[in-house]
């Protein structure tokens, strides 16, 4: 499976992604699916600065990413696909049924959100989007770094464990 992780992380490309996941999984390419970043040269330069030599990074909107997933699946390198919010990943999974598992890596505090884990805060609308993904057969789990406990969505939404 050339795309190892489909991750939601509002910090986008940062240390946890590049080092925490990138090194142990031998990630060779990162795709940031973000409509705004896909149109901003300044943001692309900013995030390229954070990617080490040997790791390719590209920026796409949802439609382009959905169309490219088949290509990535034929790639011999390992990749990580990243969105900055739940709605973007929802749209990607709807447009690309090949996406079977989603990692909730970091959704931080904002007005209207409730804390579910130390690194996950969700609004009712976001919870509904995640439930809808699961209903379509997508596995949704929370895990900030590879060595951390993987928390399935139902436990995440039902539990009070904020570890």
């Amino acid at each position: 499976m050339p795309v190892e992780v489909y991750r939601i992380d509002d910090r986008l490309i940062h240390g946890q992604v590049v080092v925490g996941w990138g090194q142990p999984l031998d990630i060779a390419f990162v795709v940031l699916v973000d409509d705004a970043a896909a149109e901003s040269d300044w943001e692309q330069d900013l995030y390229r600065m954070g990617v080490p030599p040997g790791m390719a990074v590209s920026f796409m909107d949802v439609a382009s990413a959905a169309a490219a997933i088949s290509t990535w699946q034929g790639d011999r390198r390992r990749g990580l696909v990243l969105t900055g919010d739940i709605d973007t990943m929802r749209r990607l999974t709807e447009a690309a049924p090949q996406v079977r598992a989603v990692n909730l890596g970091g959704v931080h505090h904002a007005p209207g959100r409730t804390q579910r884990l130390r690194y996950i805060f969700l609004s009712p609308e976001e919870e509904a989007m995640l439930r809808a993904m699961v209903a379509r057969g997508v596995s949704v789990t929370a895990q900030d770094v590879p060595g951390a406990r993987m928390v399935p969505l139902d436990q995440l939404l039902a539990g009070t464990d904020l570890s």
Partner: protein, 134 residues
């Protein structure tokens, strides 16, 4: 005993690193108050950017030290810098960097940071003992 000094720079880093670095500066020189420490723990990217912007604005801060070049603190600082061109963002800051900055009263914050970066680089190294050493 610590000398009371106005903050000249912000240190923004992962976890407790910023507070730890500033604590180290205080322990060694008594000049920890030259810095304001900011952790990214539990903060959204927008929160980090806002905290940096507010700290910089409130204190007239011209230098932000960060840890990883690809870290969320460095990225947030760069976003603040985009609209505040006078701000200098330092990445990869270590204790040697901050110590040199803290002692450079005779330099402007920007000049002190430029020199401190070199000191921080110079402090990185490896030390080994040859296998046949006594």
């Amino acid at each position: 005993m610590s000398e009371a000094r106005s903050p000249r720079a912000l240190v923004a880093a992962h976890g407790d690193l910023a507070a730890g670095l500033v604590s180290g500066v205080e322990a060694i020189t008594g000049r920890g108050t030259a810095f304001i420490a900011l952790s990214n723990r539990g903060l959204s990217p927008g929160d980090i950017e806002r905290a940096i912007r507010e700290t910089v604005d409130a204190g007239g801060i011209e230098v932000v030290f960060t840890d990883l070049p690809m870290g969320s603190c460095a990225i947030a600082a760069r976003k603040v810098q985009r609209h505040q061109h006078g701000l200098l963002v330092v990445t990869g800051a270590n204790l040697a960097t901050l110590l040199d900055f803290a002692m450079a009263d005779d330099l402007t914050p920007r000049a002190a940071a430029e020199r401190a970066v070199q000191r921080g680089r110079d402090a990185l190294g490896t030390i080994s003992v040859p296998p046949n050493a006594g």
